[in-house]
Symmetry: C2
Subunit: 340 residues, 2 copies
């Protein structure tokens, strides 16, 4: 079995690849598990050394759009050999607000070109499309309901959310036409995301834990009572793999499945940081309200009734403390006060 992960050198792509390599096999859409022979990562930056060193990993470097324009029609293209494509690559929310054309190109054009490549391949691969909670935007003219479920009308209030929602529609219709097998999955805000801050408005929701635990300062641009819906990296990867492994009948409609999310507050996150990282870590958070970021974040939904995910056996993280503990366990070199 051959697998492609777009955005494969990003943090989710890397974690997904490592998880798949460790599992060694995948039961595609309820079928008998098959050995994973190759995972091709596409990205603009190289994957980490452990992945690069694994003989099952291939790497296609460069801009995904350019690659698809150049190579998609080739009979022996990677798209023609892949049984599963996890489409994770995207321009993130902050980038898309700053550069409208970049968002159109990276999030709509690339997705459509990828789907066209699958259609040209003619092998009906399974496409797991990483959509986002960002499809749900609150506005004065059309407030979101207090609880989001799988039938809630998305009303995106930023270009990233619009573009992800358009991606879902394209994936659904290419699926309906039989060009692919469609798996639309809405990822929740991931915390604690490893690595560095990025252009996403949600970046601080990882940074406010990750940086202090590493002895670095972090800025929290929203107030402590801000409610947020989060999922750990492990639960997020679990959701992506479940999407690939669920049988068609179990998965259900081609519209998107909301992954589960823990509802917590930024204050409770800071408390968990202090509990396991000590007061010194908590003191590294600078509470510095930023109206622009706060305005984005408070308009995200914070309570998700992830009914379809629950039917698939996917549950939210039990509490934010367990997310902090996982992060510390996965990063043993962190200087933490309480947990070693």
């Amino acid at each position: 079995m051959q697998i492609i992960i777009t955005g494969g050198a990003g943090f989710l792509g890397v974690r997904l690849a490592r998880t798949l390599l460790a599992r060694e096999s995948l039961a595609l859409r309820g079928a008998t598990p098959q050995t994973i022979e190759r995972i091709t990562l596409t990205d603009r930056v190289a994957p980490p050394a452990d992945l690069a060193a694994d003989s099952r990993i291939a790497f296609v470097k460069g801009d995904l759009n350019q690659h698809l324009e150049a190579d998609a029609a080739a009979a022996q293209s990677i798209w023609a050999r892949a049984a599963i494509i996890f489409h994770l690559s995207a321009a993130v929310s902050g980038e898309c607000e700053a550069d409208f054309d970049l968002g159109l190109r990276s999030n709509i054009d690339a997705t459509r070109a990828l789907l066209q490549a699958c259609r040209a391949a003619g092998s009906c691969p399974t496409v797991v499309f990483a959509s986002s909670l960002a499809v749900f935007g609150n506005s004065a003219a059309q407030p979101l309901p207090p609880v989001i479920d799988d039938r809630t009308l998305p009303t995106p209030q930023n270009s990233y959310g619009i573009q992800k929602f358009i991606g879902e529609q394209l994936v659904a219709d290419y699926g309906r036409k039989g060009f692919i097998c469609a798996r639309n999955v809405r990822l929740m805000t991931v915390s604690v995301r490893p690595g560095k801050p990025n252009g996403a408005a949600s970046s601080f929701l990882s940074g406010m834990i990750r940086e202090p635990l590493a002895g670095l300062r972090a800025v929290c641009p929203v107030s402590k009572d801000t409610a947020v819906a989060l999922a750990s990296p492990a639960r997020t990867i679990e959701g992506l793999i479940r999407a690939a492994e669920a049988g068609d009948a179990d998965w259900g409609a081609r519209t998107a499945v909301n992954l589960p999310a823990l509802t917590t507050t930024v204050g409770a996150m800071a408390d968990a940081l202090e509990k396991f990282g000590g007061k010194a870590a908590a003191d590294l958070i600078r509470w510095e309200p930023d109206a622009a970021v706060a305005n984005i974040v408070v308009n995200w939904p914070s309570v998700i009734d992830a009914g379809r995910a629950r039917q698939l056996g996917l549950l939210p993280d039990p509490d934010f403390e367990s997310i902090v503990i996982d992060h510390i366990r996965e990063n043993p070199r962190l200087q933490t006060g309480k947990l070693t």
Copy 2:
């Protein structure tokens, strides 16, 4: 005031142009009414003689995509001078199912190119986008609720519906960015549509009235108890103009407004035909079930709670008999038994 109507030689475009010319002015988004100086119709076929003869009508012949590619960036393009664009042109449902690429090009690419032309013009025109009831598709995996309202999640089950729904998202986001003023309007199935049958699966819902009243045979491919949601041409045009005239606060969210629809059955439509066209007309309907068409039609919603439209003063036709009477009055040369 300059206005563009894409698909301006189609039946809705022609009727809209005639209605606007007769009104002579338009109160754009709640502003003081302004005289309509020019209406530019874009289409692949020429408009009828009465429009062509009106000095206020301009005509841009050809493929909309090609026109936009060639001309949109020009500083003096029609897009830079238009205060309002009614974007009606589209490939219809049957065409899009038969030719997937045609649908992508005519319904997604053209809409995006039009929005880019507006953005390039920099004048923030009002774009009234004619979306469709077809965004609501029923499926076994995700049945539609019995009543559709403005917050119902669209789950399109054909490419036309997907493409219209994507168009709504693009219009909403270009509106949010301030590139246009967005007016997303979902048109109901129009009956009685003048002209000839087209590739739309809904074509028979006009043909079964129009053809017999003109002494011609018509095929009805669904059973008499099939419930349908319909709007007359007059109500449809009223909705499009209201979208342009409603102030921003009255209009509300950039997500689509469902226009009102009369819920009736195909059998009741045939009864109304017989009442005003006589038994001879009713006998011209050949009841010939077509599973492919029936499967599309029964999965369309038939009960619409058009709350936002109602707030804007838009109401459904009172009954199908009044729709038949309107059609006969508007087509005085019809040979009808009862109404002259």
